[in-house]
Structures are given as structure tokens and as C-alpha cells.
């Protein structure tokens, strides 16, 4: 799982790559300014059920919805919530360690590997896996020295997955990646730039599933470019996310990862440990919501935001009210 796995909405992700280098270079200083200005945080708020919370996170539909849910739940519990969404994890994560950001929504394996790489370098051995519980343990180990920790991960996942067109699936009778391997024809793949070097991408598709990948087009994870290339038939297989709500409209279907190649990417709240100690009820409130959130729920919400142009906060609120989690 790479750090920038889901940095942006599909549409915006491409454009932002253009400003990636300067952003990264500015990251250190810009991050401080962007987040610490009034990010006093609630770390020193002793009384439960009050005080302030700063929620950080990435700024695209899925994370806007998750952050809005956290916000609505905590406001309902009496907190004064500030939402600060930014472009990438390495802007808000260091701030969470410092306590300028108290809480963020994240992906289980992506976050684990982000911390793993931050700790052990870009070539660090992958510790996240398909097993959510085992990955949570790894995440706890990596996060603890940094003063942050995960709460209970939701059932909902936005894992990496591989899609084909409905037509291609029907014609070749495909439902899983194993089926594609048995088909035996050379397959062009659109995926993230580092796909060729990854065991959960080209290497795994070839070794685990026996798929003959003839070419990898580095069009990005779940980007519009990847989906267009699929829909136009330039490639046969594309790397997308399981909670992508646009697939159906584009005539794309996911192939089942029947040999469990992909890491668990459950949505998990990350919190600053000091903040959590002072505000135990935050865990109770968020865990209750996470326990009931399914991938379908999430995909439906994303569909409302991306497809119907509804506001993430409205969609989040409606879901929580529907579930009886807020009044």
C-alpha cells in the first residue's frame, strides 16, 4: 500500500500530481502553517463530552464523508469540531503526532505502510496484509512510538481491486482474478506507477493468479485515466478501489480477489493518544459507528456525493440519522 493510494478524487488526483513535487518540497513548512494556526486541539481538555476536536484528513469525497461522519457524531456528543482536510497524508499525519490534529479517518493498510515506510525507508518490507486483525496489530506497534493509535476499524473497506469491462467479463465468463489467469491471454493493465514492483499488483497477478501481464500503463490507482483506458479498451484490466461508486455507470465490474492478494483497507479512525486519554468517550462514539458501516453503505454515500452532487456533510448526517446514531 502506498502513501498516496487515495490522495484525491479520481478526477482531481491526476491534476494534483502536477503540483506534487513543489507540494512535497513545501510540505514541511506549509503543513505547519496549514494545520497549527488554530489547531489547539483537545489534548488538554480533561472533561469528557466537551472541548474541541480538530479532525484532519485527505480532501476527496470518501474522506470528506468519513470526516463529516466523525464530525457529526462528535458534535452530537458535545464537542466543538474543526475540520481541516488537506491534499495528502504527510501534511496531517505529523501534525497528529504533535497534537495539532486530534483525529483523522484513514485506511488500515495504507496507514500501516505509510508509518512502516516513514520508519524503515521506502524499501521496507510490507507488514500490512489481507488479515485486518493482524494489520491492526502492526499498525498499533508502528503508531504507538509516535503518540498516535487506531480505534476500531470499520467493516467498510476501500481496498485495491481490479476491474474489467462487463462485456469482457461476460464474453470470457470471468468473475474472479483466478478466472482471468485461466483464460491465459496477454492482459494489459492500467495501474499505479509502482505496480511492476509490487506484490499486490503486477508481481502478485502474475505469480499468484498466473495472469500474463503484457504491459502496465502507469495511469494511477482508480484515476479517471485508468477507468477511461479500461472503458475504451486500451487496457483489459484496471486497478481501482472497492468503494468506487462510478464503476457501474462506466460499465466496469470488479473481479473477485479470490486468493486474497490485496491488503485489508478498512476505514479506521486514527487518534492522538494524549487526546484519547483525555476524551475516552470519543472511542465509544466512533467505534459504535464503525461497527455498522459496510462497504456498500460507503459506496452508496460516495455515489450520492460524486453522482448527485450532494454535500458530504448532508450525506453523512442522513446516514447517521438513518442508523439512529445521532438525533
Amino acid at each position: 500500500m502506498s502513501l498516496f493510494r487515495r490522495p484525491l478524487t479520481s478526477r482531481r488526483r491526476v491534476a494534483t500530481a502536477a503540483v506534487v513535487a513543489p507540494l512535497l518540497l513545501l510540505g514541511a513548512c506549509a503543513g505547519d502553517d496549514a494545520l497549527s494556526s488554530d489547531g489547539g486541539g483537545g489534548g488538554d481538555t480533561a472533561s469528557a463530552g466537551g472541548g474541541t476536536v480538530v479532525i484532519g484528513g485527505q480532501n476527496y469525497s470518501e474522506m470528506q464523508i468519513m470526516s463529516s461522519m466523525y464530525q457529526a457524531l462528535l458534535e452530537d456528543a458535545g464537542y466543538d469540531v474543526t475540520l481541516k482536510l488537506v491534499e495528502s497524508r504527510d501534511v496531517y499525519e505529523p501534525e497528529m503526532e504533535k497534537g495539532n490534529v486530534d483525529l483523522s479517518a484513514d485506511y488500515l493498510s495504507s496507514m500501516t505502510e505509510y508509518l512502516n515506510k516513514a520508519e524503515n525507508g521506502p524499501d521496507a518490507k510490507v507488514v500490512a496484509s489481507n488479515d485486518a486483525d493482524a494489520t491492526v496489530e502492526e499498525l498499533q506497534k508502528l503508531a504507538a512510538p509516535r503518540g498516535i493509535e487506531p480505534l476500531e476499524p470499520a467493516q467498510a473497506q476501500d481496498a485495491n481491486a481490479f476491474a474489467v469491462t462487463e462485456e469482457f467479463a461476460r464474453k470470457n465468463n470471468l468473475t474472479s482474478l483466478s478466472d482471468l489467469g485461466k483464460l491465459g491471454s496477454p492482459i494489459k493493465l492500467a495501474a499505479a506507477e509502482d505496480c511492476s514492483q509490487r506484490t499486490d499488483c503486477e508481481i502478485g497477478l502474475e505469480k499468484t493468479y498466473g495472469i500474463d501481464i503484457s504491459k502496465v500503463e502507469p495511469l494511477g490507482f482508480g484515476t479517471q485515466g485508468t477507468k477511461d483506458a479500461l472503458a475504451k479498451g486500451e487496457v483489459q484490466l484496471g486497478q481501482v478501489g472497492t468503494s468506487d461508486a462510478t464503476l457501474e455507470d462506466l460499465g466496469l465490474v470488479l473481479l473477485e480477489d479470490d486468493k486474497e492478494l490485496q491488503n485489508a483497507e478498512n476505514l479506521v479512525p486514527m487518534v492522538n493518544s494524549d487526546f484519547l486519554k483525555a476524551n475516552r468517550d470519543v472511542a465509544t462514539v466512533l467505534n459504535e459507528m464503525s461497527a455498522g458501516l459496510s462497504t456498500d453503505d460507503l459506496a452508496t454515500m460516495i455515489g450520492k456525493v460524486d453522482g448527485n452532487r450532494e454535500l458530504p456533510e448532508d450525506v453523512a448526517r442522513a446516514y447517521l440519522q438513518d442508523k439512529g446514531l445521532i438525533s
Binding site: 500530481a17 506534487v20 521506502p122 500503463e217 502507469p218
Partner: protein, 243 residues
Amino acid sequence: MLTDVLAWFADPANWQGEGGILNRLLEHVLLSVTATAAAALVGLPLAIWLGHLGRGGTLAINISNIGRAIPTFAVLLVLALGPIGTSYLGPYGRAGLATLVALVLFALPPIITNAYVGMREVDRDLVESARGMGMTGVQVLREVEIPLALPLIMSGLRLAVVQVWATATIAALVAGPGLGRIVTLGFVRQDLAQVVGGALVIAVIALALEVLMVTLQRRLDPVARAKRQAAGTSVLGSVELRS
């Protein structure tokens, strides 16, 4: 951080292979040279001719300036999604034609604007004198106007070369070739040393190109050259050219 970047440069593996610095550099040079050359081939004759006629320049400049007003990346995406498409074009890779067209559109404004203005700025008295001496239109163009407009023409080319070099990185965003790919790969791999290393290669060469083009511009400037010669040889009665 600095040591990480140095280590990245020191690792021979980062220089070799399809994704290595050398191959990406070659791709980048090819892309930039082709785009700049094509832009010069289209832009220079047009601007010089219009400058010579003294007509239509404003229109040409304004049309070419559209290329400056629209972000190159947007142009590239529209071209790649639309009529030109993303098919491979030899060494220019995926969406090669779209990338080249986007870069050419980006290179045209400085080339056209500077060449046209350079031509119009040539002292009218000199042009009149040349005509008075019996020079034909083509002779005036070749012997008087172009040499005197050369500093500005070169300045337009210099801008185009440096801009295109730096902007050719966007090819990576449509999975095309060039040094941009080093940066995008480093970004995805969460390898900051590679991101900075790739950006450094691009930036350092951009600066070197700027210096190179400035030197070339000075060398080709006939006025400065005449002055140098005059000073160097102290030939009495040498004609002092003014522009």
C-alpha cells in the same frame, strides 16, 4: 534528506534501465527538442514574415497567447481524451502526439511574440536606408531586419526552450516518457529522495539550458559582436550600428 538524495544519485541502479535517469533524460531531450523545433518551425517564419509586413502581428500574438492562458496540462488532457487520443507515437510514448501538440502550443507564444516585436523594433530609418540603397524586400529582411531582430528572436527561443524543458514533465501524467516519470514514481513509492532527485535533474538542466541560450544569444547578437570587434581591433572608421 540531503544525504538520501545523494545516495539516490550514487546508486547506479537509478541510472540504468528503462526507468533510469539516463533513459528518461534521453526521452525528455527528444520530447523537448521535437516540441521546441516544431514550434520554432511554425512560429518563426510566421512572426518574421508578419513583422516584415508590419501587419497582422497583434492578431497572431493574441491567438498564440491563448496557449499561455490555458494551462498546458488541461490542453494535454483535453487532447488526449478527445480527437488525438492516447495511442503510442514511437519514442514519444503513450499519448505522444497529444503531448507534443500541447507542448508546441505552449512554446508558440514566446517565440511568436518576441520575434514579431523584434522585427517591429528594428529602426525604421535603417530599413528605409536599406531600401534606398536598392535592396529588395528579401534582402532587407535577410541583411537588415533579421540580424537586428536576432536578440529578441533568440530571447523568445530561450524562453520556449526552458519552458518546454520544464513542462515536458507533464508527459508522465498521461503515462508518457521523460524525467517526469522519475518524480511520479518516487511520489507513488513514497520515496522522497527520488522525488527530489528527479526534480533536481530537471531543474539543474533547465538552468543550464538558460545559461547556454543566453550565451548563444550574446554570440549571435550582431550589434554586440560589432562592438566587440570594434573594441578588439580598434579599427578606425568601423561602422557603429545602432538599434
